[in-house]
């Protein structure tokens, strides 16, 4: 009887150990120049940080909402993306191109969407996450002008599914690179918009990223022991240093609740931040973001 119980328990233990990726306590960071060392980190903490990062479409939606004219010249050229060779470059590129795809989606540029979808598909194949990227459906939606909502929805869910799969398969380093790509490309576009037509709102998007850069570095520094990460992280540490002179003041106030035309309650917190910076601070930050992004795509 005891033997039977021990046998059943052992079999059950075996299946429990093999099942799912949610309870891992070690994340192995494969690739990045065949670096096979495992990184001992808290997976819940890093996955939570990665998961919190904005959607690849958010910055594009912001830019479009500000009535900034469409310009393809600021996007990552797809011919450059074809040269990304290591998984490090591919994951970064996947994030950047996803942000660019978001931009093309909100501006409804069908021809360019198909071009970027093709590049993303190539990177997704190489990173073995192509099963989450529904290329044929996306391509079909892109060529049918009536399906913009579905296209945007599927583009964003495909991105999140690829990201989630990387984390579940212990490739959080690649997932971290994807969010870095999305953030960097989004900020690069904001900087380019601000150079084209500077206004307070765009300036504050850039200057107000101080805490977000801290969060991003919080993720990237988990992988500081990998040479390529270390080199990239040094650039982000340089960027964070430039934010030292930017002051973000928290000001108390009364919350307001109103209702829009569809009777949806709108909460406007009284507590808000005031961002204090000089034009010199902003120029330095902008130039650094542009430099980091250009360095990353000329990898």
């Amino acid at each position: 009887m005891i033997k039977k119980l021990i046998f059943i328990f052992s079999v059950a233990l075996f299946f429990a150990a093999c099942g799912g990726g949610g309870d891992e306590n070690t994340i192995t960071g494969p690739d990045t120049q065949n670096d096979v060392r495992s990184v001992q980190i808290n997976p819940e903490k890093i996955n939570g940080l990665i998961e919190s990062f904005p959607s690849p479409i958010e910055m594009a939606a912001t830019i479009e909402d500000m009535k900034v004219p469409y310009s393809k010249k600021h996007l990552v050229p797809t011919e450059i993306a074809a040269d990304f060779d290591s998984n490090f470059d591919k994951a970064l590129g996947l994030g950047m191109l996803s942000a660019d795809l978001g931009y093309l989606n909100v501006y409804n540029r069908k021809n360019a969407i198909v071009e970027y979808l093709t590049s993303i598909k190539r990177l997704a194949d190489a990173l073995d996450v192509d099963q989450f990227f529904e290329f044929q459906t996306l391509k079909r939606l892109a060529t049918n002008s009536n399906n913009l909502d579905s296209l945007m929805f599927l583009s964003v869910t495909s991105y999140h599914d690829m990201d989630e799969h990387l984390r579940k398969t212990r490739r959080s380093d690649l997932s971290a690179l994807m969010i870095t790509g999305v953030w960097t490309e989004g900020q690069y576009l904001a900087c380019k918009v601000n150079q084209f037509k500077s206004d307070k709102s765009t300036e504050e998007i850039i200057a107000g990223q101080k805490d977000i850069v801290k969060e991003l570095l919080g993720v990237l520094e988990f992988f500081d022991d990998k040479p390529k990460f270390k080199k990239m992280n040094d650039q982000f540490r340089g960027l964070l240093k430039l934010y030292d002179t930017v002051e973000i003041k928290l000001i108390e106030g009364e919350d307001k609740i109103s209702y829009d035309q569809d009777s949806i309650p709108v909460i406007e917190p009284g507590e808000h931040t005031e961002i204090i910076y000089t034009q010199e601070d902003l120029n330095k930050i902008q130039n650094k973001i542009i430099k980091i992004r250009n360095n990353l795509i000329s990898l």
């Binding site: 009887m1 005891i2 119980l5 021990i6 328990f9 059950a12 233990l13 429990a16 799912g20 949610g22 309870d23 939570g48 940080l49 998961e51 919190s52 990062f53 904005p54 959607s55 479409i57 958010e58 939606a61 912001t62 909402d65 500000m66 909100v106 909502d149 579905s150 945007m152 929805f153 964003v156 869910t157 999140h160 709102s201 504050e204 998007i205 107000g208 990223q209 805490d211 977000i212 969060e215 928290l250 829009d260 569809d262 949806i264 309650p265 709108v266 909460i267 406007e268 917190p269 507590e271 808000h272 931040t273 961002i275």
Partner: protein, 153 residues
Amino acid sequence: MKKIAILIAITSFFIFVPGEKAQAQCKQQRVYHCARKGGNAIYLRDFNTKLKAVRSERSINGTKWPVVLNRGTRYRFILCTPSGSGNDVKLTLFDSRHPETRPWNSTEKSGGDKFDFICKRSGVYYVSIRFKAGKGKRKTCAVGILSFVGKNQ
């Protein structure tokens, strides 16, 4: 013999009882329909979870997700559940300064299935989806949608 059985039972409990995040979620179709309820707002991401039936009044069931929100942006939060469990579930938005017990807002507090939030501080916020107090006799799935309404100039 009895000791071994107890030991196995206790160990199994810790091994097999799942954590906060349940495995099964709402189907993609439901997520898509929920996203479309945002009107002209642009879908950014979803929070999809399965809620297990509440066994005792004290159990806190559900999931929470961190989410970075950007200052100056108006976001829309929408909660969708299968018909029949809509009134049992709530979506809550909170952060470290306004904890879940004293949140920025929730669908329960605002009395509907959606609300807008004008972000005045860039940073990490949290979204949780849980059963309301005293509810949750039956398991269900629930999905929350975060979408972009516009810049609040």
